[in-house]
Amino acid sequence: MSDVIQSTDLDLDHLCERLPSHEREGQVFWKLRSRIGRNQLKYLLTESRLRTGLVVGLSLLFWIGLFALFYSGFTFVVSQVGLPGVREHAQTVRFVFTLFFVSLQVMLVFSAGIILYGGLYASPETVLLMVLPIRDERLVFYRFQEALFFSSWGFFLLASPMMVAYGLAVSAPWYYYAYLPALMIAFAYIPCALGAIACLLLLSRIPHMRRIIVGGAAVAVSAIAYHSIWSTLDIAGADVLGASWFLETFRRFEFTRGEWLPSTWLSNGLLDAARPQSPDPTDLPWVESGKYLVVLLSNALILHLAVLWTGKRLFRESYSGLHSRQARVVHLQLSWIDRVADRLMGMFSRDTRLLIIKDLRLFRRDPVQWSQFLIFFGLLLLYFANVDRFRQHRSDVSVLAWVNVVSFLNLAVVGLILSTFTTRFIYPLISLEGHRFWILGRLPVERDTILWGKFLFAACGSWVPCAGLVLVSDIMLDVKLLVVVVHQVICLLLCIGLSGMAVGLGALMPNFSDPSPSKIAAGFGGTLNLVLSALYILLVVLLTALPCHFYLLATTSEMPSKLLKGEYLNLWLGAGIGFSIAIAVIVTVVPMRLGLKAFRQLEV
């Protein structure tokens, strides 16, 4: 022991006077953030270059793609309804902007509230901060800043290319670009602050009902959105995109242009900033736009104060209230799902069945896993169930071609979403066994059986929903039987290949030091798995989509080239499927063999 503690002069008032001021607390938190940020950046640039490069590169690609899309869209709008200042232009663009921003506004409310809940009530860091002499409102604000950042980065990634593209398409003056960041930041602050206040109020008043209320609100918003989209598309086919359809749609979404909505202030501010100076010298666009910026800023600042005020009064009480709930004791029995799974897997050995059922139980009892699965596949199902617009013109060759393209794109989307799940949930499975490997390692079970069990669990578990989704898409698009069969074959190959890759690479590059599956998946091996998975999906889908595409066109119209005659096309199609099967075998067998070899020699 180096020295003894000096007893403090216990003039408590004096000690407390020295505690940091409100501003100083803020500075200390900024210092904390900048230190963590600097260390994190150093780590990303030295230890995780592949992932960092991939994220930055893909984000840039995404941004440029969106920019190109929006730019061509706005150029088309300008060619049809004139430049800003023309009444039709303002109406059309206002319709697009308000609809876009009102949707994001609702999402920001939910995401900020949910992220704040996780940061404030379920984080071990909060416990540390709560025992330090930090003001409650400062603690809430510190967490709110995180919620603001994490919930609104998507908004900026989506909205910035759109806004820049609009500015360039209409040759907006310089102050449009000067106002743009301030308008967007002030706008994003408002729904995020509302989400934060709603979160604090909910947790302080009815903490036990929080999941039901948030879930109910999300279902209600989804139902409204679904109904709006459905009723917009549910107009006789000939009318779609016609004048009456547009007027009807314009009227139907009147509620998105309410004068009291921040999304309307943002849209009006942008439109005013983009329009040219009118002949009337008293009409100054930069002043009109500035007024909307002031409205947004003042509301954001008032809500900022409201967040602090609510945090100061409600946080600690709500934290204590939330942690006063009685722990729920769940009595688990052998579920019917396990019994059904056991019967369905009758062809496998008993050891394999037991290992698969163990993984199935862990999956079922982890809401993080199945809820994400449910949300993504549920959204896909919703989309596939409404993708039958092409049916009405199926005699037209160009529409037939689009039907075929869309059906293969749908297959690729299913594969890409599946690849994110295999990376996020299947790839870390072996790493997560590390801490409990003493159980599996001592069991009288071959190590190969453990790995094959995980492979079968992933392949069978993913094949059922994926095949179902692809079938729904095909039925709704009314594609030919040949395409249905090809899709089902490819879907099976994707499930087997992606599972083999995730399990094999997971065993080859395990990470036993990190207990968090998301961090394991975000490492080098997980990123590599995601990239290889995406390449595999694109390759397999392209190899079968192109021959299938030409085959269908050739059977419905005159094709000019000899190579596109029937006998060649059969060869193309057969070769495409053959190559796909060969690639699937390679991406399954090679990683699994490497993974099995590494797993047999594994010492934990």
């Binding site: 003894v4 904390l32 230190r35 002499p133 934290y319 204590s320 009685q326």
Partner: protein
């Protein structure tokens, strides 16, 4: 220095702590004992302001911990059972952050960090990121953070779990020396031998109620047939 005045804490219909009356004086080491779920950690969390009592008052240095939370937090250093460190901060950066939050100047902060680094022998790993720390390194860093502002009271929840013999010796010496200087230590523990070795007084909780409060000698007098060691006395008390 610490007073629990008829403190009750419930989780739904379950009573975790029932009408707890407990005081700890200056210069005293009190070991709070009890089975899992007896109410020890809940009592400590109420003391440091993480949880609020359903009824009753917890006072520290004459201040209600709910009404005067910031003042009370200046008096207390807390080492939780599952300590948190920022993975992407080094031990030094973490200690400086805690010192800053107690309003220390840069010079005071540097001096306090050096003092705790020497006390807990952190030099070897102080400038490494916390993500590379072993459990013992983490625990020693958290102890250093809890003492950086030289509090009058040290509250420790399960201080010895997972520590190596060197760290255990370090912590035991610290707790005893700390109390000898007129400070107060309240620790919750399952390690009865350590409680017997360094505690001035033991308080035993069972199902949320305080079933014994006194010295080990008094417990021996109360249970003369139970044996000499705190372990045998504790087990006998729990069987009653």
């Amino acid at each position: 220095m610490i007073h629990f005045r008829c403190v009750t804490r419930t989780y739904g219909t379950h009573v975790a702590v029932r009408e707890l009356e407990l005081s700890v004086a200056e210069g005293e080491v009190l070991a709070l004992l009890g089975h899992n779920g007896a109410g020890k950690s809940t009592s400590l969390k109420m003391l440091v302001g993480l949880l609020r009592p359903s009824s009753g008052v917890v006072e520290v240095g004459g201040h209600d911990v709910i009404q005067h939370r910031r003042e009370v937090s200046r008096l207390i250093g807390y080492v939780p059972d599952q300590p948190y460190l920022y993975e992407k901060l080094s031990g030094r950066e973490f200690l400086q952050f805690v010192a800053d939050m107690y309003g220390m100047t840069s010079a005071e902060s540097r001096e306090a960090v050096e003092r705790e680094v020497d006390r807990f022998e952190l030099t070897e790993f102080l400038d490494q990121l916390a993500e590379s720390y072993s459990h013992g390194m983490r625990q020693r860093t958290v102890f250093a953070a809890a003492l950086i502002h030289q509090p009058k009271i040290l509250v420790v929840d399960e201080p010895m779990v997972g520590l190596d013999p060197f760290s255990i010796r370090l912590v035991k010496d610290l707790l005893r020396t700390y109390a000898n200087k007129g400070n107060t230590v309240l620790m919750s523990t399952h390690t009865l031998s350590i409680a017997e070795e360094i505690a001035d007084r033991v308080s035993v909780m069972r199902n949320g109620e305080l079933v014994f409060d006194g010295t080990v000698g008094q417990l021996r007098q109360e249970l003369p047939a139970a044996g000499e060691s705190l372990e045998s006395l504790y087990l006998a008390l729990m069987k009653e």
